[in-house]
Symmetry: D2
């Protein structure tokens, strides 16, 4: 049986047609698209166009909800209450679901964005609010997030499907957490190294943590986009390399 892995990337993060070209380039390589819902980026036209483009390429569609913070690209911790988080996340999931409905496309999962992702990973109340929003809108959606996190635990408690993701271009600590972005060596810019690590993760082999310890990372999906300018190149190379290694790139969610 061939190995299978999902590749996910953030899409629809422009306004109007401003990132159309970049998005089309990424859509050719990923199997899952995290589509911005207008709160950190994206608007009613990008949502529709990105859903349409993803459907055309049989890429699975996920909502990528954020704190409402376009000027800060959703990267600022706004300290919202759990009620506010649930309302904002619910609003965004419903908005994207409606757009999917208009394009006869299917919404399959939810992955929080930026500061909200980081907070929900480690703050139980925030994670519970995200999970509650999913359950209220459409309980069959999968939540995509880091393994062994408050998100994974709250999804489990509430009976919401959970899928784990790993980061191709980030260094890990021995405990499986990411090396914080401001530390030296946190981001892997070298395409070859990133691709190599990704393939090892997929094959169940160990990779080196930042202190040299060998570490095994399991994930149903690899995230290969973000604020790393080398991400598109990494994605292209990784996709080619996985195909060579006979790993099937396929969505984690139906």
């Amino acid at each position: 049986l061939p190995l299978t892995i999902d590749l996910n990337a953030d899409l629809g993060e422009g306004f109007g047609r401003s990132r159309e070209a970049e998005d089309e380039a990424l859509l050719d390589f990923v199997s899952s698209a995290n589509i911005a819902c207008g709160f950190h980026a994206g608007d009613a036209t990008t949502m529709r166009d990105t859903v349409k483009a993803a459907k055309l390429r049989h890429v699975t569609i996920g909502a990528h909800p954020s704190y409402p913070d376009i000027p800060g690209f959703g990267r600022r911790e706004l300290g919202f209450s759990p009620r506010e988080i649930a309302l904002h996340v619910g609003y965004q999931i419903r908005a994207l679901r409606d757009v999917c409905g208009m394009e006869r496309a299917k919404l399959s999962y939810v992955k929080p964005h930026g500061a909200l992702y980081n907070r929900a990973a480690r703050d139980r109340e925030a994670a519970a609010a995200v999970v509650a929003a999913i359950r209220d809108v459409e309980a069959t959606l999968t939540l995509l997030g880091p393994a062994d996190s408050e998100m994974s635990r709250e999804a489990h408690r509430a009976g919401i499907a959970f899928a784990t993701e790993a980061f191709v271009d980030r260094a890990y600590k021995r405990d499986g957490s990411l090396v914080p972005r401001h530390e030296e060596g946190a981001v892997i810019h070298d395409v070859k190294s990133a691709v190599q690590r990704a393939v090892m993760m997929v094959k169940g082999q160990t990779i080196s943590a930042d202190d040299g310890t060998e570490l095994r990372i399991f994930a149903q999906s690899l995230c290969v986009h973000g604020d790393n300018p080398d991400a598109p190149a990494i994605l292209r190379a990784l996709s080619a390399r996985l195909k060579e290694s006979r790993v099937v790139i396929a969505p984690f969610a139906a």
Copy 2:
């Protein structure tokens, strides 16, 4: 049979709880609430809270879609194409309809905001885009706008219900159009005068145009809010005066 008139005002134009007090004051006097959908103001919490507060007071709920322009409060003409208008308006109507669904409240009408309202009043393609968005999302919604406008004509063509509104605090020209805001005397700040004119409109009496001509304005709804700082005082006085005159304040839409 008693005379009946609807009073509408713009609501939910804060963020979080920033305008809660103002909104509650207005909700006690209007029969229809134009609720901001997050594109010129408002967010997922204000939408929910305003819908809830309106329902509690039996105030009819309308969507108040705008160009996406929070820094400009929706007052800048963005020159969107008809397709962009239809997508943005559709997005906002669906968003508010979903919020209504969560609160078991009913969405009854749509009134465009600011620059989009002004454009759709006189630009046939923009009006057709607004009407198309309504028809696609929920063809039973009423469109609220100025009499004898491209909006009224396009609604008629498409079989969408249309209701007309007049402005209590604005001067009119002899042809029934508003005196442009930058002209002297365009805005009526005097509470008594505004209330007097409103009552005359409701009773079918003539009012004076800016050149002294007598003019008759028919409208199913009176708009009594906007960027006039005296609007809340006008609304309060108007509501009292209408009751004295045995005019029933009631929503134009079910």
Copy 3:
């Protein structure tokens, strides 16, 4: 010798000409204008127009810097580092100083806005960052803030002039701090009560804290604007009442 008090209000919080009418109404009654610098509201035209209008009426001009958060009106705590605070505050002070220079008007003071005000009142590092920004741009500017706060202490340490303000429409606790906005009775909506309290403060008389204790509040300036919808009415009444009581309304800063 007559008693003297300053009245300050937030101005220039529209975009383009959107709040021109409200602002002109307030400018007739205040002696000091906190002018928004474009980060929570305001833009290059409002800054220029408000400076011009304030100068015309001999109203003293202050910068009203904020976290960069137009959608949240500067009311969200963004958790910026001290360096980020200093850069953002410095940027805004310089921007308004430049506008003043173009209108041959004088910039006299700085009052932080919203969440930044609240944080700098109690967080020593944030207060020090605000003070450092003032010292770097123009060390002769006065900082306006609450008595006995981290702002007052850091200004003192750095040799920056400090002026205290009290709130006319807010209830106080026995320790002189404000009753938090979400508690019952925090905001005084009744115009008469607010005016009465203000006059007592000015005369050095005691007012009642929320638990009935008698409390004396000293302040060089009274803040009579904010998100209280009754603020304009309070300001008008207070101004009249102070004049009756032969209290001179005059700026705290030259």
Copy 4:
């Protein structure tokens, strides 16, 4: 005497540290940096950090003013009046000049961004407003824009220095204007072709217009950044190729 050409790119278009890595990569190859001033992107920290990074690499600094439109990235035509344009552009130039002053760096030129650039190229009043803003703030700044445009003519009339730029990754019509972005073949994605054309422009050789006509484009500066995702790769390759061809990359302005 060796041939000389300036390479300019848009920088500082993130918020906080969000694009630091991309910006540092670009700064290694350009000779002039168009730095965002907070109106379409950028904030007080990015302005300071980008000025500092540019100075460190001896890259010439220009202001990149825009319509105030962060959600639209300055790409929407807001239809501002000439007075509004002059005030907004003046505000941004002063803001960046002040930041330069704090870093003891020199501000050398101004290049409008996005929709404002396009409008000022062909609308005489808008061009005159941009030029007036430059003259009012600092008449020694150079305006960078397209050859034979309203910007070039208005700069000439007002005695403001003007420098022309050409686009490396865009197709030209036989009259020297750009092929509109929505037409087929408007953007050149192939790195080799783009580099080849740029070198031919620099050497004064003809390039092919979209209809096959041979065309000569003169420019003091080549713009190698924008919304083309391949721009960084093009810039890197172009820089290497120019060095091979013994063309000196040097700023157009002192």
